[in-house]
């Protein structure tokens, strides 16, 4: 199993600079500050083919280049640590296991794009991570890695920790920026994109924790070596958070190119005793629910795109056949109804109608027409919402309507095959 990222949080104590350095820590930063020009760093990151690990899979080097191209005396570097996607807990492992790694990534990013100030925006539900980061920043300031004249160069950079208070939408980069500015978390229309005009109107680079954690590794081993991990379209490794009915749950580092089947049956040791696979949700609550016959899908951006599936944050939830599909989808829909910011029509109104219609289905009072309306509303949300939240909110619904439509029809007729909801058990055949 690959361990280019995990070795740091497995082998080092979180606040020990000594152990961090023994494992290769700060090699990337030393190289960047002492041996490379900013553009050389940008070229290296572009050449590494690193793509954003937060869910949107945008090429990181390109985002850096856009920010670097802006001529502005003030530029911000934001680490998006608002890990709010349900079932996702891989950033937490980095934040608490090896905070130096992502901070090193931020310092390199700032040096490369001309960043003057950094913010780590961390979700309010991670108090321990927040404390760890503050301590880490304190240690790094004392040791000359942050603050004025870093490592005896002319480069100065400082980082502040800011915290969210539980709004899922604040993981969306423009809502996150609004939140740092002190406004309610609501997505902005794009353009302007943050690299051009972000925090307080200044060019702003927003990267996910895992993305930034990859940077020191790329710099120290070199882009070519980095690309030996993974596939042609997807270089490096991915931290996945696995939960549900598998034997081994938790965070694993896997190389791109591995199939979902390998993850479930090898990395995670297969399903728990006596349970039968029903579906796998990839990418958190905003992700697709895939049936067994799609488990040959590879963790590879090209393969995923060709199947119209998004990797999202890399969360994997394995559901067994005791899961009532409608109960699961209803819980998912309620989550999004709660988390919509309310700015655009499709998401604000659509989520409400979706939960109401699902309520009808679950309570046995829905009609076949309701199912049609449900599909329509879900599609309107996907195609017309302003930001990723509304666009992705109906993904689980739309994919299960595609792969598991029978269970919707069963519930409309008053049956649930799992027998766990209040409806009768058993399948309806040819009624």
């Amino acid at each position: 199993m690959a361990n280019i990222l995990s070795k740091f949080y497995v082998k080092t104590k979180p606040l020990s600079i000594k152990e961090y350095k023994e494992n290769g820590g700060f090699e990337g930063l030393e190289k960047a500050l002492h041996k490379m020009k900013p553009q050389e760093i940008l070229d290296e990151v572009i050449s590494s083919n690193l793509k954003g690990r937060g869910g949107a899979t945008f090429p990181t080097g390109l985002k850096w280049q856009f920010t670097a191209n802006e001529s502005n005396e003030t530029k911000y570097i934001i680490c998006n640590a608002d890990e709010g996607e349900p079932g996702t807990f891989k950033d937490k492992v980095l934040l608490e296991g090896c905070p130096f790694l992502l901070i090193e990534g931020m310092i390199i990013a700032a040096y490369a794009v001309g960043g003057t100030k950094g913010y780590i925006y961390i979700r309010g539900e991670y108090p321990k991570s927040k404390e760890m980061l503050r301590n880490a920043i304190g240690v790094l300031k004392d040791e000359g890695y942050l603050g004025d004249k870093i490592l005896d160069t002319d480069f100065s950079f400082d980082i502040e920790v800011r915290s969210g208070y539980g709004a899922y939408i604040c993981g969306e980069e423009t809502a996150l920026i609004e939140s740092i500015e002190g406004n309610p978390g609501r997505a902005r229309t794009k353009p302007p994109y943050p690299p051009n005009k972000g925090l307080w109107g200044k060019p702003t680079l927003v990267n996910n924790v895992e993305t930034l954690a990859n940077i020191p590794i790329i710099l120290s081993m070199g882009a070519e070596k980095f690309k030996e991990y993974g596939t042609a379209s997807s270089s490096g490794t991915k931290l996945i958070s696995v939960s549900g009915s598998v034997v081994n749950k938790g965070v694993f580092e896997v190389e791109f190119g591995v199939t979902l089947k390998d993850i479930v049956y090898e990395t995670c040791g297969g399903l728990t005793e006596n349970s039968k696979f029903k579906f796998l949700q990839l990418g958190g609550s905003a992700g697709a629910c895939l049936p067994e016959n799609l488990l040959d899908t590879k963790l590879d951006f090209d393969d995923l795109r060709s199947r119209n599936i998004s990797l999202g944050s890399g969360a994997i939830l394995v559901a067994d056949d005791t899961t009532c599909l409608l109960g699961f989808i209803k819980a998912t829909a309620e989550f999004f109804e709660h988390e919509s910011c309310g700015k655009c029509t499709p998401c604000r109104e659509g989520n409400k109608h979706v939960t109401k219609l699902l309520d009808k289905i679950v309570n046995g009072v829905a009609t076949v027409e309701d199912l049609e309306i449900l599909k329509d509303v879900a599609l309107t949300m996907k195609e017309m919402s302003l930001c990723g939240l509304g666009q992705a909110a109906p993904t689980a619904l739309l994919t299960t309507l595609n792969y598991f439509e029978g269970e919707y029809n069963e519930h409309i007729k008053g049956y649930c095959r799992t027998g766990v909801c209040f409806m009768k058990g058993g399948e309806v055949v040819n009624e």
Binding site: S340, K343, C344, P346, R348, H353, K356, V377, M384, Q391
Partner: protein
């Protein structure tokens, strides 16, 4: 700036880089439906009605906030696009209280118009309408959340144009609503009742608190002597309520219709506007020569007065002590006029027709009882007058023209221009110049003070003195001047402030829509009306001269002090 060429519905169009698809389509005369979009506001991109297909992008795109790219191919009229627009509209309608039959904005509602435009049929979605009660515990403005479509226009105008910030987005998701801090009534917060939120609301979620029935009741009460005064801006906008182009001057038809409605006397606020110039002009000279507080701010705009009372009470000494023309009229109607006509002032009902919602609150101020009674009894907006006329069945447009009654109906061109930003200053300068120099002012048109721009300034030579003046409209512009004064950076002598963008022609009681384009036409109407009059300087108003001879004696005299001047209140806490 670079140009890019895109293709919309099979036709190429070259536009400037940075344009939106919506703007490019407009150049091809392709009408993309919109709802949250407003020509004078920032792009919100929230309603998603203006959706189009862009080749190569899987999801539909909102054309108002999608920028053109060279070679872009756009489809605005496919089945997919038409269906999508209907579906998003269906979502909006599902949570909209569509009791159109009893809605003040029926037939002038952007949602209703859009529904028609998109051929909406019945909605299949369950109706989920907010049952928050109507909020109207104040003299001016009613808010009905069951009609709100959450476009955010009212918030933008309140924060960015007026700098008041009385309303916000509260909560999120389906519970997101537009409301006041802690759900308080408008009367408990810093709202100035300007009504600009009403003017930009696409539906009937915000409107003026109507007083039409009180007027009907007074008109039918034989024991009452009901007099009406009409503000300058109303005459160039009332026509819009009847399909006439903005800026049409309907002064004399308006007089005729008011008389036909049953008012005992039809008077003109322009009369007291001329009077204001004499009082305020003299107050200005008094401050200038006597070392009084300068710059002096005008005081005719009640939204502005409430703003400075709320936010800058430490600068209240700068505000002229003159009452607004509306309130001067009320005080004189129940004293001078009552004596002259031998009517018992307790039987007189003074009705105002104003372009303004803040005037309703002004008339209700505790101190506005100098006649011994409430000086102004009822205030209607221009829109309410339009509704009253429609209700009466009288065809205003076909009525023969009539003249205002005397004496409170006599006025000059200087009074008419009170209706547009810059007008009060121009009128004051026409008079101050001649009073100070004793010479006739040759060019009386101060064109550089005119127009709807928010901040204008000029230096005018009056005798030996260079008088430095500023003219601001919208409260955000007023705030700039106030901050300059606080920092000691404002070397103006005299500043005209109008609360509403463009001045009273853009008031919160004016016909809807009232876009900048329409405001410019109303301004044109105002200056045309001024030009047509024989008398164009306030001090030449013969009826005002008589008023001083018979009653007031002299500007700033004892009676003036009692009836025409007022004081202000610190409302900052």
């Amino acid at each position: 700036m670079n140009k890019v060429t895109i293709n919309i519905d099979g036709r190429d169009i070259t536009v400037k880089d940075g344009a939106t698809i919506l703007e490019a389509a407009k150049e091809l005369n392709i009408q993309i439906p919109t709802l949250c979009y407003h020509p004078d506001q920032s792009i919100k991109g929230s309603c998603r009605v203006c959706t189009v297909e862009v080749e190569g992008i899987e999801n539909l795109q909102a054309s108002c906030c999608t920028l053109v790219r060279d070679g872009m191919k756009v489809r605005t009229n496919t089945k997919r696009v038409r269906d999508a627009r209907k579906k998003v509209l269906e979502l909006i309608i599902a949570s909209h209280n569509d009791n159109c039959l009893a809605c003040v904005r029926s037939e002038n509602c952007e949602l209703q118009a859009l529904s028609k435009e998109l051929s909406m049929k019945e909605t299949r979605l369950e109706k989920i309408v907010s049952n928050v009660s109507i909020q109207d515990d104040n003299p001016s403005i009613v808010r009905d959340s069951s009609k709100c479509i959450k476009c955010g226009r009212c918030i933008e105008v309140c924060h960015d144009v007026q700098g008041v910030g009385a309303i916000y987005n509260l909560n999120r998701s389906f519970n997101m609503e537009i409301g006041t801090p802690l759900g308080k009534d408008l009367s408990e917060i810093s709202c100035v009742y300007c009504g600009q939120c009403i003017n930009v609301c696409p539906v009937g979620a915000i409107y003026e608190k109507t007083d039409i029935d009180r007027v009907w009741k007074a008109l039918e009460d034989e024991g009452k002597h009901v007099v009406v005064q009409v503000a300058p801006a109303v005459r160039v906008s009332i026509g819009e309520e009847f399909g006439m182009p903005p800026g049409s001057i309907l002064t004399k038809k308006m007089v005729a219709v008011l008389r036909a409605l049953g008012f005992n006397k039809v008077f003109d606020t322009d009369f007291t506007a001329d009077l204001t110039i004499l009082e305020e002009g003299n107050e200005f000279l008094h401050r200038l020569n006597g070392g009084g507080t300068l710059p002096m701010f005008t005081s005719c705009s009640p939204g502005w007065v409430r703003y400075i009372e709320n936010f800058y009470p430490e600068l209240l000494d700068h505000v002229s002590s003159c009452k607004s023309p509306q309130q001067m009229f009320g005080a004189l109607a129940k004293t001078y006029y009552a004596e002259k006509e031998n009517v018992d002032p307790k039987d007189i009902v003074v009705v105002s027709i104003m372009p303004c919602t803040a005037k309703k609150a002004e008339a209700a101020r505790d101190e506005m009882i100098d006649s011994g009674y409430q000086d102004v009894d009822i205030v209607l907006t221009t829109r309410e007058l339009g509704r009253m006329i429609k209700e009466s069945g009288i065809d205003m447009i076909s009525l023969p023209e009539e003249e205002f009654d005397e004496p409170l109906g006599i006025s000059t061109g200087a009074a008419v221009i009170f209706g547009a930003s810059g007008g009060v200053m121009e009128a004051a300068l026409r008079t101050v110049y001649e009073v100070v120099t004793g010479e006739e002012l040759e060019n009386i048109d101060f064109v550089n003070l005119r127009g709807i721009e928010g901040f204008k300034e000029a230096v005018v030579k009056v005798g030996d003195l260079d008088v430095k003046v500023a003219v601001v409209n919208s409260l955000m512009s007023a705030k700039k001047v106030l901050d300059m004064v606080k920092e000691g950076k404002a070397d103006y002598h005299f500043v005209e402030v109008m609360c509403c963008p463009g001045g009273c022609i853009g008031g919160g009681g004016q016909p809807i829509p009232g876009t900048n384009e329409i405001k410019r036409k109303r301004v044109e109407g105002i200056y045309n009306a001024d030009k047509k009059l024989a008398l164009r300087k306030s001090h030449e108003n013969p009826a005002v001269k008589v008023l001083y001879e018979e009653f007031l004696e002299k500007p700033l005299g004892e009676k003036s002090h009692h009836l025409l001047h007022t004081h202000y209140v610190d409302r900052s806490n």
